[in-house]
């Protein structure tokens, strides 16, 4: 997993960079909010970002708001790591759109655990997104069977969107996962099959009688 570190303090940046690399993450570091904003808008943007709050120009809070306003379907998981330690700061940070909040000086093990929580949330989000996509695909297939279908009043053939007349079973098989197995209903048996059998019996009798 790729993680972005945003902090204007070189020592904090270095400490975070070394720790995260040690834990097996791919790390990108930005010295300020403006640089981080450019990185987070890229198509291959990191899926998790660790943000400082107090930075010149674009600060962590503004960065957080910008990221949340992004049109991207999958937004990065944001963790504030900041010395802004008052309860009101934490509330403001989380309400601006951060997913988690750690107060400096931070404990490395706690940071590691919280990064793992972030990774878990991202996995869950990705799994849900896949599931939604599967459902949307299925729904799109079902939709093909909706709407107004022209059908012949006599032979019951259906006219498809390319103006061909098809047997109704061919049409449904082509527009859904349904398949047909052919049989004869009791009514049709009485109406078509029995008279036909009777006719064949008569033919045989007359042939035998004539022999």
């Amino acid at each position: 997993m790729k993680i972005l570190i945003v902090d204007d303090e070189p020592i904090v940046r270095r400490l975070l960079e070394t720790s995260l690399t040690e834990w097996g993450y791919e790390v990108l570091a930005a010295p300020g909010g403006e640089e981080a904003w450019a990185i987070l808008q890229r198509a291959d943007a990191p899926s998790l970002a660790i943000l400082d709050w107090t930075m010149p120009e674009v600060d962590g809070l503004e960065l957080c708001r910008r990221v949340r306003a992004l049109g991207k379907p999958r937004k990065p998981y944001l963790i504030f790591v900041t010395a802004m330690a008052r309860t009101q700061d934490i509330v403001t940070g989380l309400e601006a759109g951060a997913d988690d909040y750690i107060v400096k000086p931070f404990n490395r093990e706690e940071l590691h655990a919280r990064v793992r929580v972030g990774a878990r949330m991202l996995d869950l989000q990705a799994a849900l997104a896949d599931r939604v996509r599967d459902l949307e695909d299925a729904l799109a297939r079902v939709k093909q069977l909706q709407g107004l279908l022209p059908i012949c009043s006599y032979c019951k053939k259906v006219r498809d969107d390319r103006n061909y007349w098809q047997q109704v079973e061919t049409y449904i098989e082509g527009h859904s996962d349904a398949q047909f197995t052919h049989g004869i209903c009791p009514e049709c048996r009485d109406k078509y099959v029995e008279p036909e059998l009777e006719r064949l019996r008569q033919v045989r009798r007359s042939t035998e009688g004539g022999a």
């Binding site: 303090e9 904090v12 270095r14 070394t18 107090t54 010395a83 400096k104 000086p105």
Partner: protein, 139 residues
């Protein structure tokens, strides 16, 4: 065994306490016992001290409270990582003063911060701390 590092008597007289400027055990805890990383961080910090001081003084003179608050805030963060409690506290006091726009107290607080920065710089300039770091048990 990392505690009780010797402090120069004149520094001791200036400072409120005779505690060493840096608690190496606390610093080592911050970096997860990674001595090489601590050496690297110290190097970055010491190199940057003149820059930081220049920036802080400039912000104080031009009465740029936002800049003063931010720079003091950054010193506070680094001091926390490096186990420099007195420096951290001096930076915090200046940060608070800047946030509350108490500019009259800024020069005095800045002097106190500079003194603590000097103590930290002196601590790291003494090669003895590297020896203690190499000999010290992992936290």
């Amino acid at each position: 065994m990392l505690r009780g590092a010797p402090v120069a008597p004149d520094r001791c007289a200036v400072s409120d306490e005779c505690e060493p400027a840096v608690d190496l055990e606390s610093a080592l805890r911050q970096v997860g016992g990674n001595r090489r990383l601590l050496l690297e961080l110290v190097e970055v910090f010491v190199e940057d001290i003149p820059n930081r001081l220049r920036g802080l003084k400039e912000a104080s003179v031009t009465r740029d409270v936002r800049q003063l608050e931010r720079l003091a805030h950054n010193v506070k963060g680094s001091a926390g990582i490096l186990g420099a409690a007195a420096l951290r506290s001096a930076a915090l006091t200046l940060e608070d003063a800047a946030r509350e726009r108490r500019l009259d107290s800024a020069p005095g607080l800045l002097t106190a911060l500079e003194r603590e920065l000097d103590r930290v710089a002196a601590f790291f300039a003494d090669p003895g701390w590297r020896t203690r770091l190499a000999q010290g048990a992992p936290p």
